[in-house]
């Protein structure tokens, strides 16, 4: 799956001419980029697809910055844009994760064995998340990883709080079952904390 093609890794030149309000908006956007990338990584699975998703979200946010209401949470507004774009893509395509899409960093051969094991344990968690249905995955990432309240997550996804609760519960139970069926939560946690 790819949202856009092209410029990652290429030398770039940046050209801009902007007013102070746009600069402030851009700074605000840059400040939340790490969290947007984390959220998008959880949704899209691969690093490049996630960054494509975030880039598309930035472009949409800039085009609609007048719609952002001061005094509301900027991160939630951006999560909503990312989620909307992703759901549109999921609905329009049969999104399949490509096999062997594990980032190179997790395959480094010069790391100590325990660190490699830890990374594999965390990769196992990410794979378990990838297996969840999109709605459950979104609820899980917003609440458990990004720390939004149920109410905030419901506003992002635009569903009732009760729906978030049930999606979250199904996601958590499925994740736990996956991890227990794999290597065991206890071992995974020990390995992961050895990082």
């Amino acid at each position: 799956m790819s949202f856009r093609h092209g410029l990652a890794g290429s030398p770039v030149r940046l050209v801009s001419s902007r007013d102070p309000a746009s600069i402030r908006f851009g700074d605000q956007l840059i400040a939340v980029l790490p969290r947007l990338r984390r959220f998008a990584r959880g949704l899209a699975g691969s690093a490049s697809d996630a960054d494509d998703l975030v880039q598309a979200a930035c472009e949409r946010a800039l085009a609609r910055q007048h719609q952002f209401q001061e005094g509301t949470r900027f991160d939630s507004w951006m999560f909503r844009i990312v989620q909307t774009i992703w759901i549109d893509l999921v609905r329009s395509r049969d999104v399949r994760k490509e096999e062997g899409d594990m980032p190179e960093e997790r395959l480094g051969s010069d790391e100590p064995v325990r660190r490699v094991e830890a990374r594999l344990a965390l990769a196992e968690v990410r794979r378990a998340v990838d297996l969840l249905p999109p709605d459950q995955r979104t609820a899980l990432l917003l609440v458990t990883v990004e720390g939004l309240s149920y109410k905030e997550a419901a506003e992002v996804v635009q569903v009732p709080v009760g729906t978030i609760m049930s999606r979250l519960a199904r996601a958590r139970m499925a994740l736990q079952a996956q991890l227990e069926a794999g290597r065991g939560v206890g071992r995974s946690r020990t390995d992961a904390e050895a990082r």
């Binding site: 801009s16 984390r38 965390l122």
Partner: protein, 291 residues
């Protein structure tokens, strides 16, 4: 276990229950070992899940995303835009607003205080912080602004010193040695984040005693061959003010990310893009358990 029970346990774990519901769950947990076991397993998988995605926060932001956030157009195959490193010897930039020029006086004053052997008390008298809790919000904000002014000023001093920055303790073979020496003049022990590895490649040059929030602080100085990042300083001091999340600010052409955590104040200062600063700040916070 009933499905409803799982819902309730998860909401309990997430802190989403009302008081009465919470008590109900706690009573259930007291009576049912299986429920306790289930809660522990859920807490475990939650912890793992957060760990699994946290590493994304420590990655450098791709240029294309920073450009997209700023609404800038990108032309491929051209040299990367690099924030100018203006302070190298022979290449000093004259700015119209020399707001930072007063800093040497402040630094000298601080040096005298240090020389007098009354570091903490001396500074505390000059800039009392023990009333911070009672300080009106506006005054606290002004004090916050002043220390950021100082942080940016100290950075400019370092940059404009070129290849011979005025450091109180220069880094030697063991970078921790400099910090240990400077820590002797601080009211608390300092720790040194390792930023020399990829993707930052920052070399620790040494440390300097400065003032942050009216208290002695360590300014750690880093340089790198990576011109997109440029020289950086990291100020670590103590603070009695409440915790705040990393917050971006700017003084002229100097970018700052500052935050407070558990009695310490941090400021990462440089001319790199905010995306780089954010990534490095995340790494610092991760290493120093400072967030």
């Amino acid at each position: 276990m009933q499905r409803l029970g799982d819902d309730r346990l998860i909401a309990y774990l997430d802190g989403e229950l009302e008081t009465a519901q919470r008590r109900e769950v706690e009573a259930w947990l007291d009576a049912d070992p299986a429920a306790r076991q289930q809660l522990a397993a859920l807490a475990d998988s939650t912890h793992l899940l957060r760990l699994a995605y946290d590493e994304v926060l420590h990655e450098a932001l791709p240029d294309r995303l920073i450009a997209a956030a700023r609404g800038e157009t990108i032309e491929a195959q051209a040299p990367a835009r690099i924030l100018p490193f203006k302070g190298r010897a022979g290449a000093r930039t004259v700015t119209s607003n020399r707001w930072w020029i007063a800093l040497p006086a402040a630094a000298s004053l601080f040096g005298l205080v240090v020389g007098g052997g009354a570091v903490y008390l001396g500074i505390a008298k000059l800039l009392p912080d023990n009333v911070a809790g009672k300080r009106p919000a506006v005054e606290a904000a002004a004090a916050n602004g002043a220390w950021l002014d100082n942080a940016a000023g100290y950075f400019k001093l370092f940059v404009n010193a070129g290849d011979n920055p005025a450091l109180d303790v220069a880094a030697t073979g063991d970078p921790r040695e400099a910090l240990q020496k400077i820590s002797q003049s601080l009211p608390q022990e300092g720790r040194l984040p390792e930023l020399n590895l990829k993707p930052w490649g920052l070399s620790f040059r040494g440390a300097k005693l400065v003032v942050a929030e009216g208290r002695p602080a360590a300014e750690l100085v880093y340089t790198t061959d990576n011109k997109a990042i440029g020289p950086l300083t990291l100020i670590i001091g103590s603070s009695k003010l409440p915790n705040i999340s990393p917050t971006f600010d700017r003084r002229q052409d100097v970018n700052l990310l500052y935050w407070r955590h558990e009695g310490r104040a941090y400021a990462l200062v440089g001319q790199a893009e905010i995306g780089y600063l954010w990534g490095i700040a995340n790494d610092v916070a991760w290493q120093l358990d400072a967030i």
